[in-house]
């Protein structure tokens, strides 16, 4: 008699790897083959994950249409079985997958739109965190910049692309054909900041300098290293903007030895 684990491993092979024989040996056919019975569960498995991807990537779905999307999703799911039962977290690698998905090779902006949508998805679902109390920050100002790490709100995401993916994303979701037709794919690269504010998730075009500065903050590098990443004149304005919009939530100090390294 198979153990419970034998059965569960066999069903995994059927649903995730399309190898029905091990599970079929344990199943009563009763007028319908074991493979047909397993396919009902596989349909739900693939369908649930496809729906999760469609909810996280609505613009990609609209851009390519349902049939292409479902085909791409099926390929993606074969390579990426979820590790967690929370499907809001499923599909982080979809942009990287699209980058290598041959049928999408003629749509060079598609991975970028997916990358933006994932950043929006993350911003939508992270837990609420209070903005940094400015009174607390005043105590940090007395410390050496080499020893302070400023912490960004977990909703803050940064996306960079060679195409105007934010304009494509907005036009597609608004179903604005006029705006879509006016998009110039060769208009140059965009540096985007995604964050969740009081009114919802915002996608903002920022300068390359602000993007580099915020990237260094996001990597939780010491404040001095963050400041060194951009010209002096720019840094205070960028930092003030992050503070004013509640994008900084905490700071911590590091030991001298860590700062030196």
């Amino acid at each position: 008699m198979p153990t419970l684990l034998d059965v569960q491993r066999a069903i995994y092979r059927s649903l995730a790897e399309r190898e029905d024989d091990p599970a079929a040996a344990y199943i009563i056919a009763d007028g319908l083959t074991a493979a047909a019975r397993l396919s009902i569960y596989r349909n739900t498995f693939v369908g649930s994950l496809t729906t999760a991807l469609r909810l996280s990537y609505p613009a990609v779905h609209r851009l390519v249409g349902a049939e292409f999307f479902e085909g791409a999703a099926a390929n993606f799911i074969e390579q990426h079985i979820p590790r967690r039962a929370c499907l809001d977290d499923y599909g982080a690698e979809f942009a990287d997958f699209l980058e290598c998905f041959a049928p999408a090779a003629g749509l060079p902006y598609l991975p970028g739109v997916a990358r933006l949508e994932w950043a929006v998805n993350v911003a939508l679902h992270v837990r609420e965190v209070d903005a940094l109390d400015l009174g607390r920050l005043a105590t940090a100002e007395a410390m050496h910049h080499e020893r302070i790490i400023l912490v960004l709100h977990p909703s803050v995401g940064l996306v960079h692309d060679a195409h105007p993916i934010d304009a494509i994303w907005r036009a597609v979701l608004a179903q604005d054909d006029v705006a879509m037709a006016a998009i110039d794919l060769d208009s140059g690269p965009v540096w985007l900041l995604v964050s969740r504010g009081k009114t919802g998730v915002e996608v903002t075009r920022i300068s390359k300098v602000a993007w580099r500065f915020t990237s260094a903050l996001r990597a939780e590098r010491p404040l001095q290293a963050v400041l060194d990443a951009v010209p002096d004149a720019a840094s205070s304005a960028i930092l003030a903007d992050h503070l004013a919009r509640g994008r900084l939530v905490d700071f911590r100090t590091i030991a001298n030895a860590d700062a030196a390294s």
């Binding site: 491993r9 739900t44 498995f45």
Partner: protein, 291 residues
Amino acid sequence: MAMRCADDPIPARAGIGLRFQHHQAVLDSRPDVAWLEVHTENYIGGGTSVRYLEAIRPDYPISLHGVGLSLGSAQGLDAAHLDCIKHVVGWVEPALVSEHLSWSTVSGRYLADLLPLPMTEEALYVLCRHVDQFQTCLRRQILIENPSSYLRFRHSTIPEWEFLAAVARRTGCGILCDVNNIYVSACNHGCQPSTYLAALPPASIGEIHLAGHTVRQLDGGRVLRIDDHGSPVVPEVWALYVEALSRFGPVPTLIEWDTNVPALDVLLGEAARADALLEHASVRGRHADAA
């Protein structure tokens, strides 16, 4: 509508599944429905859904219905997922918490479905240990729901209804009796749904689920019923619900609708129909008591 207390029990009336398509409509119209049920896993993170539920929950008792803990996994519960559920239970303060008699995770991979267990003493032992662990973690009773199924294992030795009753007896958990699932599984496997209902201990029934299902025609004239929660409750399931109420008395009853989600009024109409049957069962119970 009066504010409720966090520990208000769910009344023996009809509730509806709150899905994201109806967040704004429920917030705006505060419909006259006795309670709401949400999927626990949709509120593990933060953001819009959580903000809606925070705004809605002061006015309705909430039932948290989990779909991802995988109580039947041979390799144990995911401690991180259990912590997430505990966090959600902490802030929602639900009147009911439920999960399924099924599994969905093996070797650290989540198969995104409520998969059937072989009905064996080994599976019963594993499931009971995990129900104990879940109840100990939350420090409260949970309900376990019978799933719909499309296959049976050759080595199963216990009828599902006896298996479910044994879980309730051994762990002290309650039972979420999904009447539609009983009907679907009974039709798919050639059993009598009344046999299933008769085997369940009435005192353990904490909630009933009602939902729609589809019928797939197979070669040779056979049909397979698929539990997809995407249509109205069928007449045969309403009839089985009446039988369930006659056995169990009035029990909080949920209208579940997860695919092809219709307008809120459609759900409320189904809930009103369940409410009428619950009221009838309640009156019949009072007459029986008086006699």
